[in-house]
Symmetry: C2
């Protein structure tokens, strides 16, 4: 993965995704004491950056593979992203979902043309069901984040941000499985000018913070966070990229996450999901260190259950 592969990825997916807007807020700049450029992936197709990686992963398949479809297990944004990306490209997406997944999540996948295969809500059943679909249908399994093509796809958000603002000193992104921040750090390395990448991670699921300290993948014992998109641990492909190119991870507590989410809703009048507020919460927690810096902030997504808000 190098500058050329990132540029190629951006060119390949460009007709299937939105080039999302970059917004600023005078008031939030005043609060942070910095100049912040928000890259609004909440306005991306299906409402999250995951559309980028899913589209790129499918585009890399051979025609024979495409004809047999793709499969993944997810009940979150990736399920919707893979469904919509597959629909846009005229191929079949099989989505393995636990039988107890919320109806609203199932409806979204169906809206985007995905074929849901339900399974009992255990890790083992999920894996086995996905394997069965691979065998029965010949479908290609695509992982939500631990996949170089997905990582490159997610990196195109930061690439676009740096095209418009090449002099950013820092880019903040949330850390879950690590696909977004790994791609972001590659983009900053190849296209930034001394641009430092910083992750925001909830204390409740801080495996990435601990992995950077221990030098080995860590697991999360608890996952009690409002940032439900960040519960997955790093993968063996995202971790080494993060080790090499991400400067640090700042952890935030639940109150900081909800407060940053509310700040964006109230002041910017845009809808973001809790996971998406984590990097702004991280910046605000340590804002003294970032005074007068020019900061890119990846707003990862806006899919939130309006009937179940954290405030």
């Amino acid at each position: 993965m190098n500058a050329q592969s990132l540029s190629d990825t951006a060119a390949k997916i460009s007709s299937y995704i939105h080039r999302t807007p970059i917004l600023t807020s005078r008031l939030i700049n005043n609060i942070a004491g910095a100049e912040i450029y928000f890259k609004c992936e909440n306005f991306q197709r299906m409402g999250a950056f995951k559309m980028r990686g899913a589209t790129h992963a499918i585009l890399q398949l051979s025609d024979e593979q495409k004809a047999k479809g793709v499969v993944t297990h997810s009940s979150g944004n990736y399920a919707q992203a893979l469904s919509l990306a597959a629909q846009s490209l005229g191929i079949t997406a099989y989505i393995v979902m636990p039988s107890n997944a919320p109806q609203v999540k199932k409806d979204a996948v169906i809206d985007y043309g995905g074929h849901i295969i339900e399974c009992p809500p255990t890790h083992k059943d999920r894996e086995e069901t996905a394997k069965r679909i691979q065998l029965e249908k010949g479908a290609t399994f695509l992982h939500p984040y631990n996949d170089h093509n997905v990582i490159l796809g997610q990196g195109t958000a930061a690439l676009e941000l740096l095209e418009d603002h090449p002099d950013l000193t820092h880019i903040f992104a949330p850390v879950g499985g690590g696909g977004l921040i790994a791609g972001t750090s590659l983009a900053a390395h190849y296209f930034g000018t001394n641009c430092t990448v910083i992750g925001g991670e909830p204390f409740e699921v801080d495996d990435a913070y601990r992995a950077l300290q221990s030098g080995t993948l860590e697991i999360n014992e608890t996952t009690d966070t409002a940032a439900d998109g960040l519960k997955m641990p790093l993968g063996d492909l995202t971790f080494p990229i993060i080790q090499q190119y991400v400067s640090e991870i700042i952890r935030v507590d639940e109150e900081e996450i909800v407060s940053a989410m509310r700040l964006i809703w109230e002041r910017m009048k845009i809808i973001i999901e809790p996971s998406c507020a984590v990097p702004l919460a991280a910046l605000l927690r340590e804002k003294e260190r970032f005074q007068d810096q020019k900061i890119g902030m990846i707003l990862s997504g806006g899919n939130v259950d309006l009937s179940n808000l954290p405030f």
Copy 2:
């Protein structure tokens, strides 16, 4: 009021307001069967179109008047708009508010530099208190909507919309006191090409609908609507403009308002207040009549109490 006065207004206020973005939604277009251009005044400074009219009204004052400040009575968006416009122009704004106004509304006015004068929560006390401030301070009273300078200011949102999309067949706007839709209809008349202006109004406060039928100002017996920005009746300056230039008013029920609001939140990922959803609700109610039309939709504001949502 003519084309020149609208253009002059736009030029005068341009450095004090945002030229707000125009957004589209493929999904909402599909639902409506029309091509909709949303003019996002929810992204305006202080979160609503009222910033335009307030700024213009203040700019028309003499230096002597400016030195003595301005006064209004409002606990809504106009209180914030006049405060911020006055602050931007370095003058004093006195805001008469009922003593029982929510603290969040008072805080917003204070944030924007307004001076709050509390009064007992009756119509008579409000008027008397505003009169007293005029006498004591020499401040100029500025009405929230029944004022030609305010009407011209509000009309600049539609003017910007038509500059970018001169071939709109219709523009929809909400109807409260009538300042926004009167200004919108002037802009459509002078700058559109056979562009029809249609108002959206809640059944609960349908004085404008009835006034267009009876030919005289009407009052609202009930005001039980989620669209709390539309409770004021038309004024004697807004009404004749609406009679002359607005084609029709479509009334909507509360369920339609909340449903349209939720549709915009969920699909466009932007925050609008209930009043702001009324014109989209009106279009969807009678969408068969507007198939394949090119429609401008004024999204009036995004100031909503997140702790008290209608869904």
